[in-house]
């Protein structure tokens, strides 16, 4: 059965309205995107949507109690909640540098969890 989906491309803040026709995992047509990123986005969004996950991790002996973190690449939307509970269970010792890897290859997604700021030790 051919299905139709109306998507809003989020590859950039422009937000093109993209119409996708597909059957199962097979794309039949993509229309309405202004650039090639829109085509990639629409394909992925229909077959297997992924997202960057930004959140925070608990810090021990830091100048602040939390450090912001993110996945180094987009991970499947369906594992976001599992990833949240793993990140929610770690505690990181300050000092922390932006880019420090806090969890490697989370849930076998190929994405690491990295710190997104510098955080000094508590004085």
């Amino acid at each position: 059965m051919i299905e139709k989906k109306q998507l809003t491309c989020v590859a950039c803040p422009k937000g093109c309205e993209v119409a996708v026709e597909f059957e199962g995992n097979e794309i039949i047509s993509i229309d309405g995107h202004a650039c090639p990123q829109g085509e990639d986005y629409a394909k992925e969004e229909v077959v297997a949507p992924t997202r960057i996950l930004p959140t925070t991790a608990v810090v021990k002996n830091g100048s602040l109690p939390l450090v912001p973190v993110k996945t180094t690449k987009a991970i499947p939307l369906e594992v976001i909640h599992d990833a949240m509970s793993i990140i929610g269970n770690i505690e990181v010792e300050a000092p922390i540098k932006m880019g420090d890897v806090l969890i490697e290859n989370i849930l076998d997604t190929g994405a690491d969890i990295v710190a997104t700021r510098n955080l000094a030790r508590q004085i």
Binding site: V10, C12, G15, T56, L66, P68
Partner: protein, 426 residues
């Protein structure tokens, strides 16, 4: 009292102030001081932990703290003086800045030029006058963001968000990810005030309902918020009583607009624009007071920090030119007018003459959502040029480049006007 002299004083160490300070330094002004009231630089970005920053400016997607860190590093690498935990109390039109901190007490800094980069603040429950009690649990979305992302407290379990501005959308997702039940995002208008990508990634991904044409009509609870009453509104935005329903909630997040923070600007006799609530500026982002510039959210509220950076570089560049005496006023002032469907245009006037510029970017917003539009520029009523866009939304700023050479031929020009109009038959 400390007395000192500086070539350039930048008030505010957020993305606007940092980019302006860096740019002025790069343009030859080495005696720069950035004054920040918080304990660290970066402004609001350190609490904006989500991604989506920098797509225009850096051509890559960064989180807020990462975007801030690049400018913090830029400033640290240069000999730019930074005063943290320092509050500016007063600015005068002859460019004296009065500031106070714990270590040095009260200081008077005589600057040759001042850049205002104080940012904006959120509208509160009091500002929008919601009926009902005044319990704990009614907070602005930005306050909830600070609690959740910096201080480590998730403010509630059952959440309703009023207003679909970007911070409201971002916080709806954030609280859902932290385990809260986000029951609805209510928006008074028939369209969202936030970026489309945030509606998709923050609400649709998590099945959080976006209730357009809805508002909160009563706050219920003694001591602590217990519930909110929401109602649909008619085309005049008046609540329809028979649509009222009660939603149980312990937290109401408000994302109902941002207001440029211009108390200091007013003290320096800077004239504000009623439409933007920020200073009226020329193309150098110079206010009516010579040598006092403004950029970032203190000038007008931006949707993307990338535009703040671009605008702050303009302000930093012209502040450097001012200090070096590298520009002159043309004598004639060209008024930049917001025409049909345009709520405002920055700059409001063009009046500077300079050798080294190619274009003047005009920043604007539409007053209502439009599809298939022509953006038309007129010089004293005659069409200069136009271009098409598939759509225009009030939540997304439009940047229109005005070529310097277009102006060069127009000696007695009085007015540039921009219209944004839907194509016929649309």
């Amino acid at each position: 009292m400390h007395k000192l002299n500086k070539e350039l004083v930048v008030i505010g160490g957020g993305p606007a102030g940092l980019a302006a300070a860096k740019e002025a330094y790069e343009k030859g002004i080495k005696d720069v001081m950035v004054i920040e009231r918080d304990m660290e630089l970066g402004g609001i970005l350190p609490q904006c932990i989500h991604n989506g920053f920098g797509v225009h400016h850096f051509k890559e997607e960064l989180t807020g703290p990462e975007y801030a860190q690049r400018f913090i590093d830029d400033v640290a690498e240069r000999d730019i003086e930074v005063k943290l935990n320092t509050m500016v109390l007063d600015v005068t039109k002859d460019k004296k800045v009065y500031a106070v901190n714990k270590e040095e007490g009260f200081s008077e800094i005589q600057a040759e030029a001042v850049i205002l980069a104080m940012g904006c603040r959120e509208r509160t429950a009091g500002a929008i006058g919601i009926p009902g009690t005044r319990p704990a649990g009614v907070i602005t979305a930005g306050t909830a963001q600070r609690y959740t992302n910096i201080e480590g407290y998730v403010p509630g379990d059952e959440v309703v968000v009023l207003g679909s501005g970007d911070i409201g959308l971002i916080m709806a997702r954030r609280m859902r990810l932290e385990g809260a039940d986000v029951k609805a995002v209510c928006e008074l208008l028939p369209y969202t005030g936030g970026l489309t990508r945030n509606v998709v990634q923050c609400l649709e991904d998590y099945d959080i309902p976006l209730m357009l044409n809805h508002t909160v009509t009563e706050i219920i609870g003694n001591g602590k918020l217990e519930a909110v009453e929401i109602s649909e509104v008619d085309e005049n935005l008046n609540p329809i009583p028979e649509t009222a329903k009660i939603i149980k909630a312990d937290t109401l997040l408000l994302s109902v607009g941002l207001i440029p923070e211009n108390e200091l600007s007013k003290k320096a006799d800077v004239v504000l624009d009623d439409r933007t609530s920020g200073p009226i500026v020329n193309e150098g982002r110079e206010t009516n007071i010579e040598g006092i510039f403004a950029c970032g959210n203190v000038l007008h509220v931006h949707d993307l920090v990338d535009w703040v950076t671009q605008e702050s570089e303009i302000a930093g560049d012209w502040a450097a030119k001012y200090i070096k005496g590298d520009y002159k006023r043309s004598g004639g002032e060209v008024e930049v007018k917001a025409g049909e469907n345009v709520s405002y245009v920055i700059p409001q006037k063009i009046e500077l003459e300079s050798e080294d510029r190619n274009r003047i970017p005009l920043y604007m917003r539409v007053s209502t959502p439009l599809t298939a539009v022509d953006v038309n520029l007129y010089a004293d009523g005659e069409k200069l040029y136009s271009f098409s866009e598939p759509f225009a939304k009030p939540g997304e700023m439009i940047s229109v480049p005005l070529a310097q050479k277009t102006l060069d031929g127009l000696d007695d020009l009085k007015e540039i006007r921009v219209d944004i109009i839907e194509k016929e038959g649309n």
